[in-house]
Symmetry: C2
Subunit: 215 residues, 2 copies
């Protein structure tokens, strides 16, 4: 499968590598078509990995991952181009965080979310918010945690969510995926990242997640 990964950070690299390992053709997109991190990544991953600008990667992929910083996501998608996003599933892993202070804050939240902003701006794109609640290592290898934990999906398009649930399960090994509802529930998972941040300071590792336990 041809997949476009927007973003060259830890999330883009880790997901990109996993997607190549799974046998896909992956293009990593950046603002700069000659982004050094994207070039190095593509060289390392071999013939099934390539790089380009956001528009190249979005055009290349039949399936897209948004792995840009949340604060840069709207701009990256504008560069990707509406035509290149049209009708495609966009798996949005990003978080709208302002890291400038030690206490992270959200750049959008409460009555809106980045997931909703993306869906609103690209109504023909099938946005599914997921994986933003865990570190990149956990995203592609949840089985490394000592117990089965939960990941969430939010999105308006039921078929797109079903496809993403399959990807999460069959490609990445997520055995429990909770469908929270439509894209407005992105508010909940994006806000959760503030708790993730506080936990991360106490737990001293980024390799953790939560498990929902009922009576």
């Amino acid at each position: 499968m041809h997949i476009g990964v927007l973003g060259t950070g830890d999330v883009g690299q880790t997901l990109g590598t996993k997607l190549v390992q799974l046998g896909n053709e992956v293009m990593m997109g950046a603002r700069d078509p000659a982004n050094p991190k994207a070039i190095a990544w593509a060289r390392q991953e071999g013939e099934h990995a390539s790089f380009g600008n956001y528009s190249d990667a979005a055009s290349f992929g039949g399936l897209l991952f948004n792995c840009t910083l949340g604060s840069a996501s709207m701009d990256a998608l504008r560069q990707a181009g509406e035509d290149n996003l049209d009708g495609k599933i966009l798996i949005d892993t990003s978080n709208p965080l302002d890291y400038s202070d030690d206490n992270w804050t959200l750049t959008v939240g409460n009555t809106d979310s980045l997931g909703e902003q993306i869906q609103r701006n690209y109504p023909n794109t099938r946005v599914v918010k997921t994986l933003n609640t865990v570190n990149s290592n956990v995203m592609v290898d949840p089985g490394k945690l000592i117990e089965k934990t939960d990941v969430f999906v939010s999105g308006n398009d039921l078929e797109a969510k079903a496809e993403v649930v399959k990807i999460l399960r069959d490609w990445f090994g997520w055995k429990s995926v909770i469908d929270l509802g439509d894209i407005r529930t992105a508010r909940a998972v994006e806000a959760y990242v503030l708790l993730w941040r506080s936990l991360r300071k106490e737990i001293n590792t980024v390799r953790f997640n939560i498990k929902v336990v009922s009576a």
Copy 2:
């Protein structure tokens, strides 16, 4: 021990009852000193339970629980009176939620929290934010869940937090309490309630909680 419980809703009633069962003297406080729910609760719980206005309950208690609606907490504490709060531990279980829409929103968040507002307004009160991440039934009986889950504490006063951790463990049965840090981390647990809300809709019970799982 003499305990003041501010608020007459599910949380106040459930905590109040548990605290009486544990052998404490509990006064439930309300805006109206003759609040029908407080009167009925005190009658049902017997001689160790009483009721009064916010000021009566705050004056009565050596330990205080804020179980008012988050949107009403600042007003309730103003009525309780600074002198009655001075030097005391205030366990803040409230959430600053606007329930007017089916999508709950926070009335304060991101760069501030209700926990911080309370601490800022009553600098001599030892505010510990906790239990706000679970339903009242789970607060006092976490062992009913099928696995051990986590509860969080946030507060500036280390001794107060240690006392609250003891209360959570010895009185309510919480075996795992995670200290998130100072009262600013109330932002994280208050924001988490948006995820709690989304989960609650999917899980079809209020009797659930999260467990932090690491590698």
